[in-house]
């Protein structure tokens, strides 16, 4: 909680400086500091500071985004090739992909990553499954989704359901 508040403080300062660019005007700097502390105080009072306050601000998430960007480039090539070829041989398919994330943030990250990768779109999100529409049926390989899910969970520090089940085996899904 305190860590999240500190992270929010740092982000707000960086954001204010980035958007305003006033580094040498003391009056404006003081006004900026006041507004930052007002925002921080309001969010503490509203009790909205939790793990979701500043998502994706860690080294793991940065690595994940780099990996995701490479995947996006690969998938883009496949879709461009399919779309621009004169025959345009596509094979649309829908599949249900198991979702092993336990937190909302992990689920959003996984579903967003699926949609970001061209050729696959998350259509509907259920309790433990995502309905995915794919442009080419080769793109629906279960292993690819499993790897993406694992990496997405790791990036936001998500305790995956598999691990949770191992911890409390008799209870099952929490």
């Amino acid at each position: 909680m305190i860590r999240s508040a500190l992270v929010l403080l740092v982000i707000l300062i960086a954001y204010w400086l980035m958007l305003s660019g006033y580094l040498h005007n003391p009056v404006l700097l003081i006004l900026g500091a006041i507004s930052i502390f007002i925002v921080l105080g309001l969010s503490v009072r509203m009790k909205i500071i939790d793990a979701e306050t500043a998502p994706y601000i860690n080294v793991m998430a940065l690595g994940y985004f780099v990996w995701l960007f490479v995947e996006i480039i690969k998938a883009n090539m496949a879709v461009v090739k399919a779309v621009l070829s004169p025959n345009m041989e596509i094979s649309p398919k829908t599949t249900k992909v198991p979702m092993k994330q336990s937190t909302d943030l992990g689920r959003v990250t996984f579903a967003n990553s699926i949609t970001l990768t061209p050729g696959t779109i998350a259509v509907e999100i259920g309790d433990d499954k995502i309905l995915v529409h794919a442009l080419l049926s080769e793109m629906t390989a279960a292993s690819g989704f499993a790897e993406m899910g694992k990496r997405a969970g790791k990036a936001v520090g998500d305790p995956m359901l598999d691990n949770l089940e191992q911890d409390k085996a008799p209870k099952g899904k929490s």
């Binding site: 980035m18 958007l19 660019g21 985004f65 960007f69 996006i72 480039i73 883009n76 879709v79 461009v80 779309v83 621009l84 004169p86 025959n87 345009m88 041989e89 596509i90 094979s91 649309p92 398919k93 829908t94 579903a111 967003n112 990553s113 949609t115 970001l116 061209p118 050729g119 779109i121 998350a122 259509v123 509907e124 309905l131 529409h133 442009l135």
Partner: protein
């Protein structure tokens, strides 16, 4: 002399990114026109706002150099990275809720000049509504 060379490199790198981005945006537009149904078209539209927009932004970042503008552009790129899949998912999810059936299975582009086989839909059965209306009118 050296600075001029550096500027030239900066310009050409940004030009490569911009041209690449424009290529992906145009390919996305062509895809939206060519693909057969709503769901597959969303794939092409998604391509426009991932690599297309990101590459154009990257080109602009290189063009801006190390400055406040490039930081702002990075922020925009990050924002697009998070919001564009959300928007795509919202549109596709709305279509799914409206019970729009996706075309599945293999598809090939129709050959120009060749008449595609037309499926004749069975005639819809007429409902007995008009009768009820006349009765009501008679009353």
């Amino acid at each position: 002399m050296n600075a001029e060379l550096l500027q030239w490199i900066q310009f050409s790198v940004s030009a490569i990114f911009l041209v690449g981005g424009v290529f992906f945006v145009i390919a996305g537009a062509v895809g939206v026109l060519r693909l057969p149904d709503f769901y597959t078209r969303m794939h092409a539209a998604g391509m426009t706002d991932t690599l297309g927009a990101e590459m154009i932004l990257l080109g602009l970042i290189v063009q801006a150099g190390l400055s406040q503008t490039s930081l702002k552009l990075t922020l925009i790129a990050f924002l697009l990275f998070l919001t564009s899949p959300t928007a795509t998912h919202a549109v596709v999810g709305a279509a799914h809720h409206a019970k729009l059936k996706p075309k599945l299975g293999k598809y090939r582009a129709p050959v120009p000049g060749e008449v595609p086989p037309v499926k004749i839909a069975p005639k819809p059965k007429l409902k007995a509504k008009p009768k009820a209306r006349t009765k009501k009118k008679a009353k």
